[in-house]
Amino acid sequence: MLAPIAHVLPLTTIRRERLLPVPGRVVVHLGQKVTPAEVIAEANFGQEHVLLDIASGLGVSEEQADALMHVRTGDHVEDGQVVAARSGLSRKNVRAPRSGRVVAVGSGQILMEVGEGTYELRAGLPGVVTRLIPERGAEITVNGALIEGVWGNGRVDVGLMFPVLSAPDDPLIADRMDVSLRGSVLLCGTCNDAAALRAANELPVRGLILGSISSALLPLAMQVRYPLVVIDGFVQQAMNSAAYRLLTTNSKREVTVNGEPYNRYSGARPEVIIPLPVSQEPPVPGEAKAFAPGQQVRLVLAPYAGKVGTLLALLPGLTAMPNGLRLPAGEVRLEGGEQVAVPLVNLEVLG
């Protein structure tokens, strides 16, 4: 059976595409070293559109209106500029209500893009530009540790990581946060306290990495200004030991916290990247694997949610679970030494 993989890797080669939402200009070159905050591409695009009904504005037919227009697709127009006019005894004209760019002309109408702003795409991680994607962005490659999560709030930032936990199930509480943590990325086991999320927002912090979070806090987690990455899920549980060990051994290093929302189909996941020096480029993370003995696995549902173990064997046929369901299962030795049978569909390979 094919196994889903969550990457918890101490040293790997991480390649990430960074793309503009609309076509624009790429401002980096191949081989260029970039910092996370560096702009790699930018695009100008209007936030909204204005449709001008020239035909009715001039009191003519659509065909006549098309002939009376003074602008073409692609033209920039200023606020108040005449965009179409009818001469003669009954002179009339139509002016642009705002400055912007003409994006379509025809059928007696002009469509303008207005409220133009510049969108700056930042690298988001420190690395080297290894591929340019014309008009859209670039691929950036970095070597280091990679810890993939399961939930992110869509924000990205970089900072020094400070653990605010002494055990993987330590909760984040507001009282633990003081001004010394300002500007850092916090690492903690679990969070069931809205005040703690707010306190982190007020400091402010540059990111928050949690093993688990109460699902009731998700609306607030979406509102905070810092990136938040949840490693294991929503069942109140300790952070999985593999991620905990890797993150705590890298404390006080600079980390990128990328709260990219999890998308099963595209493969996008929230992640924590810790850039590390290497003498030789390490392998890229493995992707598709079948379940096999010896794999390190994470258990995703009760009664062992969040626990890590070693897959000892794939059990033949179907295995009866305590609730009566009979499923393909594997025998897993948990870190405490306990051996349990777990449905294969409730396992995720760490690697």
Binding site: L2, A104, N263, S266, N323, V342
Partner: protein, 583 residues
């Protein structure tokens, strides 16, 4: 059926679901089409594969292992037609994997084309993200901005009667066209036009280059009085397959194997339910339900008139994180016979949405999953019931109409550890009235039969009558306005050997009369206190019933089912009912 009417074509049907891909073989056995075996594998539509091909290959290989037959050649291509005992003669495929198709619905009048277009959108795995109509007070540019922001997969346009006025539809088409034009070429949506056919050539000419895929279907509302969803459903089903071809790897090849006969799973389910209601011509409706990871599907047909509703928001997979937008935690908790804190239920919904293919391994999680199945099925039926045919007749306004039979799919129901659990999910969620038969589709055959119906009309009938489905129970649900504890029904079951079983059932009770599969008996029903079992208030009747796994179940718990507010009392009652049916 004489053997001569049966061709010797074998059929391999593949269904690609969110969690599981199944390959099912039908072949002629002793002159009749039979379900032979099925193989299954995990679906590989999601990352890292992003290609359904691997899961399809593994499911077919699993089927090869079970049957000892070979369907794939050395290059892993399907051998079709069969040669020297290898391969198959015909192939059909159904698909429900993939995220819900984000859809913008465009119509004119709110209670005419707009409503019909919404109903059409509900017949496939879509999520309506925007609606644009004539009564929309926004400016056209605001509508354009909304489409650009949402980046829909599909725009579904209805409006105008055939030969009627075209101005309003043209205006809306212009707005949609501008939005499509402004989207990058590789991000343009598919478009289905099912409005005034006078405009069809114009739409075809204007939108060909502005969409990723264009389809012109027949008008949903050819006249103001007539709604004709069926041909448009087929157009939408085809367009759905085309959208998935662009989104998910391997779908193109699967469609090629199927010779273009790649259908949305729900569409195939709907087709077989409609087909059955035409073939069996019962006075009651036929109901097919499927509680899956990608969606809950309701297919109800009354005399060939099908209502198909697909509800991704009520699926037991990724959709669970949004479920609380449609229902309350209390409404889920009411179905639990155990004390599980509300916050644990909420966390479970979110955790399960992260791992939609996971399966509960503890009793608490299983109980919770079954409670969720009840609630999502309730919600889907309630939503779908509004669209049921006017031919649908029932006993209690707002409740399920008469159905016979009810076919149930979805592994949470069909693979519950005990059949009593399957029964209670269905009884609690559907709350059938009168007399009906509950049937489980344990091998997920309905979509395959729906897809096959197009290729071979005899096959579905013969397979349905072959015992490939599990008869779960014959249910008698009297409706009475009496206090709990008042006798409402006397039931007598007269077996073929002359033995009898009798019961007097009181309001609030759930009772069973054993009648094993393979047997039949005469069931005499005598309602008391003007209770109605479908023959009219206080009127009795007699009917022959076939044996099922749980026999005859008399559900006199009342319609609608009212559960006690007191937790302890409710828990006790839920457990008692489950024990009564052997759960």
């Amino acid at each position: 059926m004489p053997t001569s009417l049966v061709s010797t074509d074998s059929l391999l049907a593949v269904d690609v679901g969110t969690a599981t891909t199944r390959a099912t073989l039908f072949d002629v056995v002793e002159g009749y089409y039979r379900f032979v075996a099925s193989g299954r594998a995990a679906t590989t539509a999601a990352a890292p594969f992003k290609n359904v091909g691997e899961g399809v290959r593994q499911a077919i290989e699993s089927l090869q292992a079970v049957t000892g037959r070979t369907f794939l050649d050395a290059d892993l291509r399907l051998i079709i037609p069969s040669q020297d005992g290898t391969g198959v003669d015909t192939f059909a495929a159904t698909l429900s994997a993939g995220p819900a198709v984000e859809t913008v619905v465009v119509g004119l009048l709110a209670d005419v084309s707009f409503e019909s277009a919404q109903r059409l959108a509900r017949t496939t795995y879509s999520r309506v993200v925007e609606t644009i109509g004539m009564n929309d007070r926004r400016k056209p540019e605001e509508q354009i901005d909304s489409i650009l922001r949402l980046h829909p997969d599909l725009i579904l346009i209805a409006g105008g009667t055939d030969g009627g006025a075209t101005r309003s539809v043209r205006r809306i088409l212009e707005t949609v066209g501008l939005a499509c034009y402004l989207l990058p070429t590789d991000e343009r949506p598919a478009l289905l036009f099912v409005g005034n056919q006078t405009l069809a050539p114009e739409v075809e000419a204007s939108f060909q280059l502005l969409t990723s895929s264009l389809s012109i279907g027949s008008n949903l509302r050819p006249t103001l009085e007539i709604e004709d969803l069926l041909p448009a459903q087929r157009s939408l089903a085809d367009l759905y397959a085309r959208i998935r071809r662009n989104q998910i790897g391997g779908v193109e090849e699967l469609g090629a194997w199927a010779g273009g006969n790649l259908l949305p799973t729900a569409y195939a389910q709907g087709r077989i339910i409609r087909f059955l209601s035409q073939v069996y011509d019962t006075r009651k409706g036929i109901l097919g339900i499927d509680v899956g990871a990608s969606a809950t599907t309701i297919a109800a047909s009354f005399g060939g008139e099908l209502t198909l509703g697909v509800y991704p928001q009520f699926g037991l997979g990724e959709g669970l994180s949004g479920l609380l937008g449609y229902t309350s935690l209390e409404d889920i908790l009411r179905w639990l016979p155990l004390d599980i804190p509300a916050e644990v239920v909420r966390d479970y919904l979110y955790q399960k949405s992260l791992y939609p293919t996971s399966i509960p391994a503890t009793t608490e999680d299983l109980t919770l999953e079954q409670a969720l199945a009840r609630q999502t099925l309730c919600l889907a039926l309630k939503a779908s019931g509004k669209d049921f045919s006017s031919r649908a007749k029932g006993l209690v306004p707002g409740m399920a109409p008469y159905f016979e039979p009810i076919l149930a799919g979805g592994s949470v129901i069909t693979h519950a550890p005990k059949l009593g659990q399957s029964l209670m999910i269905l009884l609690d969620a559907i709350q059938p009235v009168g007399v009906t038969t509950l049937i489980l589709d344990q091998n997920n055959l309905l979509p395959a039969l729906g897809a096959a119906a197009n290729l071979n009309a005899i096959l579905p009938i013969q397979v349905l009558e072959s015992g490939a489905f599990l008869g779960l129970a014959t249910v008698v649900a009297p409706v009475a306005s009496v206090r709990p504890g008042t006798p409402v029904l006397r039931a007598q079951l007269v077996y073929k050997n002359g033995n009898e079983s009798r019961l007097e059932v009181k309001q609030g009770a759930l009772e069973t009369l054993p009648l094993p599969s393979g047997q039949s008996a005469r069931l005499n029903l005598e309602p008391l206190h003007r209770a109605d079992v479908g023959f009219g208030p206080g009127r009795g009747g007699s009917l022959t019933v076939s044996g099922t796994a749980l026999g005859v179940v008399i559900d006199a718990r009342g319609r609608p089912l009212r559960l006690p507010a007191d937790h302890a009392h409710r828990h006790e009652l839920l457990k008692k009912w489950l024990w009564a049916v052997g759960g």
